[in-house]
């Protein structure tokens, strides 16, 4: 008891000193209330003033590398266009979202209300994206999503001002289901994390497999982001399945592939994994991943003129190899370019701008890309095989795959 009283005394004193008077609080509130007004006056800009683009991406934490690659590729396209899009110069404001969903709405508001950006490009983490969507829908700010695959962004929460240059979680998983069924496997199991992206992936895999006559008999999950896969792996042999589909990303993916091999399952139960299992993780995986079949909307060895030129330019700018995240960042800039070129840089022609982006036909490094009515990419899902530390393309699993956009009122 004495401990407690001792500790409480100095704290009470500190509060008294720091507590602001009612007048200070009121003054502060009054001042704060005028801030939006100031903003309104400032918003009248000269036609030639630079367009403000907010890049809200992870620049620290687990996804930092993804944020850096998206940014480098985004800037690469702008540089290739001579620094202007549709005759408009661009001013880029970067904000580290730390992949922290709790700060998603706050960070987005900061860009929209304080920095008064015209466009937001973001982000990687689906949880952060959900907070951004709310703000984008309320403010009408143009939002281009360069990675996060949450189905809702181009589904139930779709909006005229929200576009995606990456993928929906459903898409690569649907492709993997098709790959499994096309390989002749009839009974399948699916393993993933118990979270939104995992559930959406499992649904996509089941649908892709079902449409080609295969059946998913069980979906097994591990709480996110745990990497103790042993309990799930031990159950797989007892299910009597021909093959196993999987979705994990980042560090969890590395551990999963290694544990799968250590459990002796690699040669007995073929694994068909989401491309995110082996993208950016092959260095850590080493030889364990050799021969692993995956499905994704991008691959190594596509060997098209567009992809070769993009890879060379990216490597020169960033000093490292391009990956799927770089492609998505590049295409986010391509979508913005299409929109601004259609309205000659006049950002106030909102409807014409949105319409131009929605009907864009991109020559993407990944191959041809258009947008679905719910503003999600329509693109090929490639079958890929890991060879010599690369995700080499091994045919097209599904051509021009569109997300069904369930729940979107624009379709």
């Amino acid at each position: 008891m004495t401990d407690n009283t001792k500790a409480l005394a100095p704290k009470a004193k500190a509060t008294r000193i720091l507590r602001p008077s009612r007048r200070t609080v009121l003054t502060g509130l009054g001042a704060a209330a005028t801030l939006p007004l100031l903003g309104r006056f400032n918003i009248v800009r000269a036609q030639g003033s630079p367009l403000k683009v907010g890049l809200m991406l992870p620049y620290s934490g687990t996804f930092a590398q993804l944020g850096e690659n998206i940014t480098a590729a985004f800037e690469l396209l702008i540089a290739q266009k001579g620094g202007t899009l549709g005759g408009r110069a661009l001013e880029i404001i970067k904000l580290d979202d730390e992949s922290n969903p709790a700060k998603g709405p706050e960070n987005m508001k900061r860009l929209v209300d304080r920095d008064m950006v015209d466009v937001v490009v973001g982000t990687v983490h689906s949880g952060v994206l959900m907070g951004m969507l709310q703000v984008a829908r309320e403010s009408g700010t143009l939002l281009i999503i360069p990675n996060a695959g949450a189905g809702a962004a181009t589904g139930a929460q779709c909006a005229p001002n929200v576009f995606r240059s990456s993928f929906s979680n459903w898409q690569p998983a649907y492709g993997c289901g098709r790959i499994a069924a096309d390989a002749g496997y009839k009974k399948l199991a699916y393993v993933t994390w118990d979270y939104a992206a995992g559930k959406e992936s499992a649904a996509g895999f089941e649908q892709g497999a079902k449409e080609k006559g295969a059946e998913v008999v069980q979906v097994l999950t591990v709480p996110f982001p745990e990497t103790n896969f042993q309990p799930v792996l031990a159950q797989l042999p007892g299910l009597g399945v021909d093959a196993v589909g999987a979705f994990y990303a980042g560090g969890g993916a590395v551990q999963f592939v290694k544990d799968y091999a250590a459990a002796g399952l690699k040669d007995k139960l073929p694994l068909i994994a989401s491309g995110f299992v082996t993208d950016g993780t092959l260095g850590a995986l080493g030889g364990v991943a050799d021969g692993l079949v995956t499905g994704l909307h991008y691959a190594d060895g596509l060997d098209t003129p567009t992809d070769n030129a993009f890879r060379a330019a990216f490597k020169e700018k960033a000093g490292r190899e391009a990956d799927v995240y770089a492609v998505q960042g590049y295409d986010a800039a391509q979508l913005l370019a299409v929109g601004l070129e259609a309205v000659q840089g006049d950002f106030d022609q909102t409807d014409a701008l949105h319409k131009a982006i929605a009907s864009a036909k991109l020559d993407s490094p990944r191959g041809p890309m258009t947008l679905s009515p719910s503003h999600n990419p329509v693109h090929n899902i490639y079958r890929r095989v890991v060879r010599d530390g690369k995700n080499m393309v091994d045919g097209v699993a599904v051509e021009a795959l569109a997300d069904p956009g369930v729940g979107c009122t624009m379709t």
Binding site: K6, Q230, Q255
Partner: protein
């Protein structure tokens, strides 16, 4: 569930539980003897894991990393206790929580500066990189069996030290009646330093041992910390035996729960904790008040 699957799942549960014991034993000693809530204890496993990764990357051998993690942990723990923790024994728990939370931030930032934010896998030593067939399809990694054995040996050593040696007697006495121990001329402050060093060494060893199993990644200690606190609460604060049986219980319940009722796997451990607290509010092996 057939016999082979059940055997595998029980092995998984034991191995997970024993690793938890290494972490929870240090936590329960520090909490029980010094009354310090050490939130940074989980981060210490992260430090141990990254140490194993760094040494493994530099020398290609995990065998060097394991004893080094223990030695570095002991020295680091002793310094930490002497320089910082010591000043907080008489303070309120909130101050201790703030201090140790700050340590988490420092460790994570230090890790970020020194090694970066990437996920790294740590190779299993070639000697143990094989599997023991359990059924026609499933095999059990030899390294996991090795971890199991190491943990059992350490648990046995810890029991012997605590219950059969003079030093162990001082630790137990310091937990019960520190004033009396002081009056008898035993340097309690040195016992405290030794206990903190021991706890840190065990946490870092747990991190180094599990590095090849879980890989190393930022904030990897957070999850461990929460489950370890559950173990401490279930076992009874300050009790090594409680930490041991509590950790095994949690390991088995968590693993079998995931296998049998996957929908409830996330909460099984906490339901168990609530049930134990209702039945024995001070934990399974609490000292008589």
């Amino acid at each position: 569930m057939d016999a082979a699957t059940l055997l595998t799942q029980v092995l998984n549960g034991l191995q997970y539980g024993l690793l938890l014991f290494l972490v929870a034993s240090g936590l329960t000693l520090v909490f029980g003897i010094m009354g310090v809530i050490n939130l940074a204890h989980g981060s210490l496993t992260m430090v141990g894991a990254y140490l194993a990764y760094a040494i493994g990357a530099a020398t290609g051998s995990l065998w060097l990393a394991l004893p080094l993690a223990v030695a570095a942990g002991a020295v680091f723990g002793a310094v930490l206790e002497r320089v910082l923790i010591r000043r907080f024994y008489d303070r309120a728990h909130l101050d201790q929580v703030l201090l140790t939370f700050a340590l988490i931030l420092l460790f994570e930032e230090g890790r970020s500066l020194l090694v970066g934010n990437d996920f790294h896998s740590v190779p299993i030593p070639p000697v143990l990189d094989w599997s023991v067939p359990i059924s026609s399809i499933f095999s059990y990694s030899a390294y996991r069996l090795f971890v199991l054995a190491v943990c059992v040996v350490i648990a046995a050593l810890l029991f012997l030290v605590i219950h059969r040696t003079r030093f162990g007697g001082m630790i137990r006495a310091s937990a019960e009646k520190p004033e009396m121990v002081e009056a008898l001329g035993i340097p309690v402050s040195r016992v405290q330093m030794a206990v903190f060093a021991l706890g840190t060494a065990l946490a870092m060893l747990a991190g180094a041992l599990s590095a090849p199993l879980t890989s190393v990644y930022p904030n990897m200690g957070d999850g461990v910390l929460i489950v370890s606190f559950v173990v401490v609460v279930i076992g009874g604060i300050g009790s090594i035996a409680g930490a041991f049986w509590g950790a095994l219980l949690i390991g088995l319940v968590d693993t079998l729960g995931k296998a049998l009722v996957p929908d409830l796997a996330g909460i099984a451990v906490y339901v168990l904790m609530a049930a134990v607290l209702l039945w024995r509010p001070t934990g399974l092996f609490a000292r008589a008040a």
